[in-house]
């Protein structure tokens, strides 16, 4: 009997959380669309989220691209398919690894920092103070963060992730695996289609939305002191990562299902 009650309880708390997140999402979207707009804050967030994430995103995808090339070369050599390496690295990086790796890295970096910052503002009453100073905290804090992430993920971070990832494969292939540099470039670029890039950037925008939404939602609703902020930071990163992996499958299905 207790066992069933526990299942019911967790199901209800799941529904409650889903409802709260749903309302928060609708509110956030409404505040993104309606004035006043805080451009100063938006540009600041774009800088922090986009530009400062570049080094870690670049490093991750560079080495992943290199490892991918080595793996595919070795695997492909079993049935004399080494020559497919450039196109597989291209497809793998642009369609899948670039956006997903970039999303997970940025989730760790940006979701966590948003949750910690907004959480601290919540527990030190700074969010209440905003309200008393004629400023809507959803508009001033949440809207610029979500918008900045949704802009910077596709138009800067994932673009760079894709390019650097392919570059990683290219470097290993030409330096170590004996590919001709010109041939490598022609065959990998020739294989790339517009829909691959479109899928990559769509994923990036969707991931960006979830990253910022989870960071803001958990931070905004922090409770208690330092421990509460810690809990919401963890929840933000974990939930952002889960949403990225699920939505990655959904977007792939929409774009490429036969």
């Amino acid at each position: 009997m207790n066992f069933l009650a526990a299942i019911g309880r967790s199901f209800f708390s799941f529904l409650e959380a889903a409802g709260k997140i749903g309302i928060f999402t609708l509110l956030a979207i409404r505040h993104i669309l309606t004035p006043p707009y805080y451009f100063r804050s938006l540009f600041h967030q774009m800088m922090v989220i986009g530009y400062y994430s570049l080094p870690v995103v670049g490093l991750t995808t560079l080495f992943t691209g290199a490892a991918l090339a080595v793996n595919i070369y070795e695997g492909g050599s079993r049935f004399n398919a080494e020559s497919a390496l450039p196109s597989i690295v291209m497809i793998g990086m642009v369609r899948e690894l670039g956006p997903v790796l970039c999303g997970l890295i940025v989730a760790g970096r940006v979701s966590a920092s948003m949750a910690a910052e907004l959480g601290t503002m919540r527990v030190t009453e700074q969010i209440d103070a905003l309200t008393t100073l004629s400023t809507d905290p959803m508009k001033y804090l949440v809207a610029p963060r979500i918008l900045a992430t949704v802009i910077m993920m596709p138009f800067m971070l994932v673009l760079v992730a894709d390019i650097v990832g392919v570059l990683g494969g290219y470097l290993i292939a030409t330096a170590k695996l004996g590919f001709n540099s010109g041939n490598y470039l022609t065959s990998s670029i020739g294989f790339l289609e517009a829909i691959d890039v479109a899928a990559s950037m769509t994923k990036a925008a969707v991931f960006g939305f979830f990253i910022a939404l989870m960071g803001c939602y958990h931070g905004y609703n922090s409770k208690g002191g330092a421990q509460g902020v810690g809990v919401s930071t963890t929840n933000a990163v974990v939930s952002a990562c889960i949403l990225i992996l699920i939505s990655n499958y959904v977007v792939t299905e929409i774009f490429f299902a036969v």
Binding site: E117, M121, T124, E125, Q126, D128, A129, L130, T131, L133
Partner: protein
């Protein structure tokens, strides 16, 4: 002067889950009066203040400002109401991502009453009023001492010349001399602007300095109201225990004794 109270609370009730915090609060604050509410930790002082500011929604009851009901009012009405309120938060609640001058001018900038170019000068003027030198304006809040943060918080609270100012434990965490400085500043600012003030505190020296009238809150009810002069011989055993700081009396702290 009319007889309509500036702020009037009737039967305000608020509970969090099963915990009843405000039972039935009845309180009138006349225009231009300085009301100080005393009460122990956890007696519901802060919750009451947040209900008036609209940061928390009471479960039932009525709160009127200038005779108009504020519970269930539209967002634009709430914004209009908040623009005539100022609030000094317990921990200062300064925005730590902004400099001191941006903090002080925040409300005025949010309402577009001054331009960004005028703001530093405006802030310096307000800082002077709370006894801070102009170079403080360009520091960040983290670089200030506790007493200075309180004063910056005060400058921010009075910057838009509010008609009603709330003080949440203005002297908590300060040494006795700085506490007295803050108390005097509060009296000066409130008198100068002719504002209505509502202070919650458990510091008796604050009460004696700031109050015109005082009230005591205990277990979610206002159990005594009267003029400041009456407080020392009001004959109410709860009030007497509180102002004399005795562990024995009708108020029993919930401490388990072995």
């Amino acid at each position: 002067m009319n007889n309509q109270p500036k702020i009037s609370l009737k039967g305000v009730r608020k509970s969090f889950g099963s915990k009843l915090v405000l039972d039935s609060i009845n309180l009138d604050i006349a225009t231009g009066e300085s009301m100080v509410i005393i009460g122990g930790s956890g007696s519901g002082k802060s919750v009451m203040l947040k209900c008036i500011l609209g940061l928390l929604k009471p479960d039932s009851g009525s709160i009127k400002v200038d005779g108009a009901e504020i519970l269930g009012q539209s967002l634009s009405d709430q914004k209009k109401m908040l623009s005539q309120f100022g609030m000094l938060f317990q921990g200062g609640a300064l925005f730590d991502s902004l400099s001191v001058w941006e903090n002080v001018a925040f409300g005025m900038l949010a309402e577009n009453k001054i331009s960004r170019r005028q703001a530093p000068e405006f802030a310096i003027e307000k800082l002077r009023r709370v006894g801070l030198a102009s170079d403080v304006a360009f520091l960040s809040p983290a670089e200030l001492s506790g007493g200075m943060q309180k004063r910056v918080g005060l400058a921010r609270a009075i910057a838009h010349e509010p008609k009603v100012i709330f003080f949440d434990e203005p002297t908590t965490g300060l040494d006795p001399i700085m506490a007295d400085v803050i108390n005097e500043l509060i009296v000066e600012c409130v008198k100068e602007m002719g504002a209505t003030a509502l202070t919650i505190t458990h510091d008796m020296s604050s009460v004696r300095k700031i109050a015109d009238k005082a009230a005591m809150i205990y277990k979610g009810n206002i159990i005594w109201t009267g003029d400041k002069e009456e407080i020392d011989h009001c004959g109410n055993p709860y009030v007497e225990q509180f102002i004399n700081g005795r562990a024995e009396g009708p108020i029993q702290m919930e401490i388990l004794k072995s």
